[in-house]
Symmetry: D2
Subunit: 312 residues, 4 copies
Amino acid sequence: MCRFLLYKGKTSIKLAHLITRPAHSIINQSFDSRLRLDTLPVNGDGFGVGWYQSNPNTTSTPCIFTSITPAWNNQNLSRLAEEIQSSLVFAHVRASTTGALSETNCHPWRFGRLMWMHNGHIANFNKIKRKLQQSLRDELFLFVQGNTDSEWAFALFLNQLEDPINGQFDHEMLKIAMLKTIDQLNNWAEEAGIHESSLLNFAVTDGHSVICTRYINSRTEEAASLYFSSGTRFTEYKPGHYKMTKADKREDIVLVASEPLTFERADWLTIPTNTCLVITPKLNVLLFPIKDQFYNIHRVKKKCIFFNSCNE
Amino acid sequence: MCRFLLYKGKTSIKLAHLITRPAHSIINQSFDSRLRLDTLPVNGDGFGVGWYQSNPNTTSTPCIFTSITPAWNNQNLSRLAEEIQSSLVFAHVRASTTGALSETNCHPWRFGRLMWMHNGHIANFNKIKRKLQQSLRDELFLFVQGNTDSEWAFALFLNQLEDPINGQFDHEMLKIAMLKTIDQLNNWAEEAGIHESSLLNFAVTDGHSVICTRYINSRTEEAASLYFSSGTRFTEYKPGHYKMTKADKREDIVLVASEPLTFERADWLTIPTNTCLVITPKLNVLLFPIKDQFYNIHRVKKKCIFFNSCNE
Amino acid sequence: MCRFLLYKGKTSIKLAHLITRPAHSIINQSFDSRLRLDTLPVNGDGFGVGWYQSNPNTTSTPCIFTSITPAWNNQNLSRLAEEIQSSLVFAHVRASTTGALSETNCHPWRFGRLMWMHNGHIANFNKIKRKLQQSLRDELFLFVQGNTDSEWAFALFLNQLEDPINGQFDHEMLKIAMLKTIDQLNNWAEEAGIHESSLLNFAVTDGHSVICTRYINSRTEEAASLYFSSGTRFTEYKPGHYKMTKADKREDIVLVASEPLTFERADWLTIPTNTCLVITPKLNVLLFPIKDQFYNIHRVKKKCIFFNSCNE
Amino acid sequence: MCRFLLYKGKTSIKLAHLITRPAHSIINQSFDSRLRLDTLPVNGDGFGVGWYQSNPNTTSTPCIFTSITPAWNNQNLSRLAEEIQSSLVFAHVRASTTGALSETNCHPWRFGRLMWMHNGHIANFNKIKRKLQQSLRDELFLFVQGNTDSEWAFALFLNQLEDPINGQFDHEMLKIAMLKTIDQLNNWAEEAGIHESSLLNFAVTDGHSVICTRYINSRTEEAASLYFSSGTRFTEYKPGHYKMTKADKREDIVLVASEPLTFERADWLTIPTNTCLVITPKLNVLLFPIKDQFYNIHRVKKKCIFFNSCNE
């Protein structure tokens, strides 16, 4: 399984503060993933980062840098991360489950102004791949360049939007498209008699709003971990060690990550399993439980092994 | 467009004699392609070579080495080519028309004991991609890892065989499957109203027989160039300069190539447009005209610019 | 041999306008180099681009992106070039003469705020490599990561500066260091009895001034080609076709390139062989003949094959 | 730090049995290195394997395949390992300490018929790099293409041989050259006042004999781990699980590895710290203590954490 991270802020941040400098950045997580559900210990199968210009307008498309060599030893990434600033960043390290090691299989992907990444996998994807492809409009069927469940899920998401290339979006539209995507995947899984659960932590943005899910199509299991943190400043108090500062209860920064980026326990809140998190253009953070057939208010919470106790 | 080369011999040859040493090897052709129909002058978008052990048995699968860095500066290729010997070799340099630069998009591909490569492109492939995919059995639909017309054409070829993974093949079966593949592509092109011609120089082998086509779905145009040469020994008479020796009219070696490997005019025969060439396990070379709706005995032969005159 | 390009402007330019969009950009030059002195027709052995933030201050270091896959099919480069803007850009495509294909051997290199690239080669570099290394201060001897004459020449240049990492530079200091570098290379070549000529088109910048040479250590031969163009705007008048606009005789933009970027003959001036070109922080362009033992006012000018006639 | 493995046998083995198939192969070790002395948990910075033809003669040179993408997801490696058989194999996974991620920095290296790899690092190599280079004959100074302490140590080793390119070697000559190499490195370390210890597990072969060291220039510390195993057959008793069979006490196979390849405790003997292991052409295994100033018969043995108890 993979790891992802996203940042949205009122002001832009140097990518290095998110990606390369923190001692527990997703690059270092790619070495040592303490919260992984699976046993494969390394996320070394490629890397990607996507970002928007600091003041995206209604036509801004994200820029994406991907690599098939491990993130921890990539000179281009190190140099770009020290140079580029952005107020909306997605980053992803990959441990391949399906799809060969190639740049076309690295997250995030973009389509027009939209950007997408996925942490998890669609169970028995081979059994629903044909149906998914057949449901797509031609432009979206032909858009996919790689061979991963995650990129096809992006195409399925795009297919829920009326005009994914030129349309105007708002966070409500994007949230509805996201929930429809998950619902559709669940329906196909049921039709195909798939019993293994899918881990569907998705993130999508149009450069203004962000929609992010922590989801599993199971009433009892936990989804892959997901945390968020918000505040006014994300600062390095000693080399490699960062903390979130909260002044005046304002929220100028929102971080969402598969694992906490800092060792400050109070900085991070667990996003409950089967939740849709929305970050509005004005940086309000909204959490919605996803109330489908897998909704279960009594789900036994998995013991949180990163912190001494859980924040839920 | 790309370039390919294949060798089948009674004895094995060091790959270097085919790939890296000849002054007009396909690697050097990747610099300077004088016979190319298109205007893009470089085949620098990846490389692949596949070969069988020297004495393949009925279960031998080919070994394949591919690379996304140019063939002319690939240390692994240089070293492997000096080391590996084989009596059946496919080699391919790629100039991408569709499909990103990734190892999964490099020719040749293998499926079980079968190996495939393509020089050319399927015109308006996007218009027939869905139909092609829908025609495939599940194992073949799911087999494709990349995103090129050429690999999907391989899947279509495999779909013509009853049991492509475990079956026993002979050159007649493989030839029939090849002709069905071309016929199917032509039918879909017609249904889709595609007027641009497809260049379908395909090569396939099971380790024993080789089937190779020079084909275009047009009554008037010429297909991409294709030559063959046969003899008893392929020898280097001075550094980088090779010639085919013919002793006793025996044919111990057959070479087929997009462009002649040597500067010896008499060594190479042009394979006529819309021909299927078969090399039998015993190294007999058979040429069959492909007599479909595009067969035209009066096709105006394109002026041969590599030799002073043509060998046809 | 390689190809390079540099841009310095009062305002920043999107990298795409220099690198990926022009029909005769250095990437397309990497396919088809009509002005090359050697016979190797392809610059496919890696690529690099370096740039400063739009308003560099006295501590700004350049950002560098390099790649060992060909520039013409590099998705990261295409995306970054559409996103990044800079007022000082170096770009380089490599055809390897020495040094393996590796990112550490790709130009440009940086040291602190300084950035360097080279088009050409140092003749018989192996005969002077030890002397060059022994002349270097430890920090510079250890700085070199690759194995090319060009990177060692950068170290030699840095060695001429009193404090290359923290010092303040001006264009006069950098010019003197450049001329000392060439002089030193000439002395070692003479000591080693090297008769082949070295092609020393170097470019260096501290983010404010640019020093660039067109040089050969021969009284009769021509150096590798080098052109410059200046004006007020560099604009795309139809897709892929650019021209330099000159309003009010102001010089807001200076371009220097191994080959003209546009097909507008009047836009480009040939920099004479054995000349040092200086671009000051205020964008004045100064040309100085390099009056050493190879200075020859009667050098027979090589016929200019790119334009109908030369601009000199 | 890195990991290495070497195999020498009377008969050839398919590379897959050493490299890709064993559950605790060095590729899987590159995920999960339980015996590492340092804390960096991943060997993901490149990979290399070198081998000789099955019946090397006095002019056979090794073939080397290296890669900068991680070994665990390298399709070329997977396919080659299933195809290639050899009776003398070196394999290495790298976790970079010095030298950028590039193929020129991947072990093993070859020079003529000789092949070399290193597990460990030369402490403060920057302080002795100049002296090492100055000690080398020109051909060896110029031979080095990368930028690692390990490749320079190979050049130093070659410099101890009278004619490393054309000479005839025997295991005694190679052993003497190895010990001189270590002695020379120790002398330079002392001259430079270096107090940190160097980990010098080296392996070299001419295709016939193998010399391998487990060494540290310290009287009290332990060198990096090194094990060997010998027997008549190395067989897979269930998928991914191998064991060494010993029939008739013959030794037809010798394996040396940074970590045991199998989970069979009795198969593996620890090579004591500061020992030189020699495998003769006839597969005799000789262990010599290296009796220099760091020899210490009372060295406190490090607790063996891989096995329940140690074999020493």
